[in-house]
């Protein structure tokens, strides 16, 4: 017989009440775990979605003069970057945080009597970087094939707008358009002449409202040949997975690798990412806190009731020589067992709930991660909530006057 024997016997005897308390803790902890798991997964999703918004770091030669997308001014005649610069970026310590490295060579060309900006790109990287791009036609298969910005194609009379949605009679066609599959224009011809050479147009970009509307895109190697600048680059766009990484550090590391280049972060984008994630985290933390506080209040009330109900028993224990500390120990042991079980159950329920709820909050295939550290934190939080909210009733119980308590019926 030890004090723990009494605690254990009491738990077995009051299974219903113990279960009720454990459920209270489990609800509080479960909500916190679910919200934290959801928050973590949604943060991950927001981060990767924000990363899809495009480059957040631009590497350019030191001296530039042409405006590129409001970010940089580039001098097309003063190419200072080389292809190996792009591979050197992968030597930085934070290379795992880089999602896309998209090198570019820019040059002015004459297209059917008009001047246009030709960009040599690595199409795989470029399409990964600009995920919002939608193409009427297809991505180029060969070096001679091009993609045209909408404005270039319109000026060259390569495209003709299609009838707007309201004029469509066919229900199926309507549905397709709603799903984003109906192109706003059609390609009338797929050949253009650049600097006297005929090229095939593989596709035309939907209008973006950005600089690419006024650009022509070809494969990097081909454009380098066409412009007579082999292995040269005008700029390198980099997308870093920066939902929680210090972009300034990445910029500094790239600068260290490429001292001859100018590396800049698009701060606005980074700040927006950080702010969105921070707001979400704060919101979930507040909701978790409120639910835990309600759970703690419930435990407090139940424990107060339990102490009143057990006044006689506590009085008997005090009368036969239990110190106040022994009473506290006995009751705390009970609460500890209940809280641990509640914390574990809360973790399991919260994890299951976040699995079930994630599809309603996140659209991508982002997952809920099962981490032992979260289980441990849930149990510790359950213990803390249980112990703290029971502290006052238990101390009050230990101070019961034994002579009054044994008279209590």
């Amino acid at each position: 017989m030890r004090i723990s024997t009494i605690a254990w016997a009491n738990l077995k005897r009051r299974k219903g009440k113990a279960a009720f308390l454990a459920i209270g803790i489990a609800i509080g902890i479960g909500t916190a775990v679910a919200l934290m798991s959801l928050s973590s997964s949604i943060k991950e999703e927001i981060g990767s979605q924000l990363d899809q918004f495009g480059a957040n770091i631009v590497v350019a030669p030191q001296s530039n003069s042409l405006d590129y997308g409001g970010v940089f001014s580039l001098s097309l005649d003063d190419q200072q970057l080389k292809e190996e610069d792009a591979s050197q970026i992968l030597n930085i310590p934070y290379r795992n945080r880089l999602s896309v490295i998209a090198p570019k060579l820019l040059g002015r060309v004459r297209v059917e009597g008009r001047e246009a900006l030709l960009a040599g790109v690595d199409f795989k990287s470029e399409l990964a970087l600009n995920r919002w791009w939608r193409i009427v036609g297809r991505a180029p298969d060969t070096d001679q094939e091009l993609i045209l910005g909408y404005e270039v194609a319109r000026v060259l009379s390569l495209v003709e707008p299609l009838a707007p949605l309201a004029e469509m009679q066919d229900d199926t066609e309507h549905a397709n358009h709603e799903a984003g599959e109906h192109p706003p224009f059609e390609i009338l011809r797929d050949r253009i002449n650049i600097d006297g050479r005929e090229h095939r147009v593989a596709g035309v970009l939907f209008e973006t409202g950005r600089q690419e509307d006024r650009m022509i895109f070809g494969s990097l190697a081909y454009v380098q040949g066409l412009l007579g600048k082999p292995a040269s680059l005008s700029l390198i766009e980099v997308s870093a997975l920066c939902k929680d990484c210090p972009v300034e550090d990445i910029v500094a590391q790239i600068n260290e690798q490429l001292p001859h280049a100018r590396v800049s972060a698009i701060q606005q984008s980074v700040r927006a990412r950080a702010e969105t994630v921070d707001r979400l985290t704060r919101f979930f933390a507040i909701v978790s806190g409120i639910v835990l506080a309600v759970g703690a209040l419930m435990i407090f009330t139940t424990m107060m009731g339990a102490v009143i109900e057990r006044t006689k028993e506590i009085g008997v224990l005090r009368a036969i020589g239990f110190r106040k500390a022994h009473i506290v120990k006995e009751l705390m042991l009970e609460v500890a067992v209940i809280s641990t079980l509640g914390g574990l159950a809360g973790w399991a329920a919260g994890t299951a709930a976040s699995f079930a709820a994630l599809p309603y909050f996140a659209e991508t295939d982002v997952r809920v991660h099962i981490e032992p550290s979260i289980a441990l934190a849930a149990v510790l939080a359950g213990l803390a909530v249980g112990m703290l909210s029971s502290l006052y009733p238990i101390i009050r119980a230990s101070k019961l006057d034994p002579s009054e308590a044994v008279r209590y019926v």
């Binding site: 017989m1 030890r2 004090i3 024997t5 009494i6 016997a9 009491n10 077995k12 005897r13 006689k312 028993e313 009085g315 008997v316 224990l317 005090r318 009368a319 036969i320 020589g321 239990f322 110190r323 106040k324 500390a325 022994h326 006057d401 034994p402 002579s403 044994v406 008279r407 019926v409």
Partner: protein, 228 residues
């Protein structure tokens, strides 16, 4: 010097919370020697149970002092007084106050729960006491599965398991019929025959006649002390 010395003890309660005191005990003095069996009698409200809780180191007197084995109970800190109760006193309550979720032997072992001895040692000790009160065959029964007399004997077993020098009993047969009441009193008499000091509150004159001495209390004062 007597083993138990009650020295001009008085007790008042502030029953309405407004400072108006109700006096329950006034100038009570008594002595009990080691091995004695003393009964405390008196009408309801005479202060018998209050005096017993004061002697039981559970209820601070308003005046006077109580010495057991020369120790001034209310000169001790609250925690030391709890230790004193565990080591010096055994309690038998009228309603027995057995813990319903512990079986008979576990109830007996309760006062040993805070001791550092091995569980087997505690169990052996409890079993010996159960044998003493004739309940060794019912060690694993819950209190609810025992008769009133058996519950009374179990309460006595719990009171003596620590081998306390003094056992205090508050109307231990008060809730029992006369046959089971006698059963319980026999256990007390056996214990006393083995040298156990007993101080018992009772309403029952038959039980009181079994004691060495009877102290009569009326309106919170000792009105007589009779040797039987």
């Amino acid at each position: 010097m007597a083993f138990l010395e009650i020295d001009r003890v008085g007790k008042s309660y502030d029953t309405d919370g407004e400072g108006r005191l109700v006096r329950v005990l006034s100038d009570v003095s008594a002595e009990i020697n080691e091995g004695e069996f003393v009964c405390l009698m008196g009408p309801s409200g005479s202060g018998k149970s209050t005096l017993l809780t004061i002697v039981g180191a559970m209820n601070h007197p308003s005046e006077g002092r109580v010495l057991i084995d020369g120790i001034d109970l209310y000169g001790l800190t609250d925690e030391k007084r709890a230790d004193f109760r565990r080591e010096y006193l055994g309690f038998v309550f009228q309603q027995h106050h057995l813990l319903p979720y512990l079986n008979a032997i576990e109830n007996v072992m309760l006062p040993l729960a805070t001791a550092s001895a091995a569980s087997s040692e505690k169990r052996d000790k409890a079993m010996r006491v159960l044998e003493k009160v004739g309940l060794s065959d019912k060690a694993s029964r819950l209190p609810g599965q025992l008769s009133g007399g058996e519950q009374g004997r179990l309460a006595i077993a719990r009171a003596i398991v620590n081998e306390p020098p003094l056992v205090l009993a508050d109307e231990p047969t008060g809730a029992l019929d006369s046959r089971t009441g006698r059963e319980v009193m026999e256990v007390f008499l056996n214990l006393n025959a083995q040298g156990q000091t007993l101080f018992m509150v009772t309403h029952n004159p038959e039980n009181a006649r079994l004691a060495h001495r009877i102290i009569n209390l009326k309106d919170g004062r000792v009105v007589s002390e009779v040797a039987v």
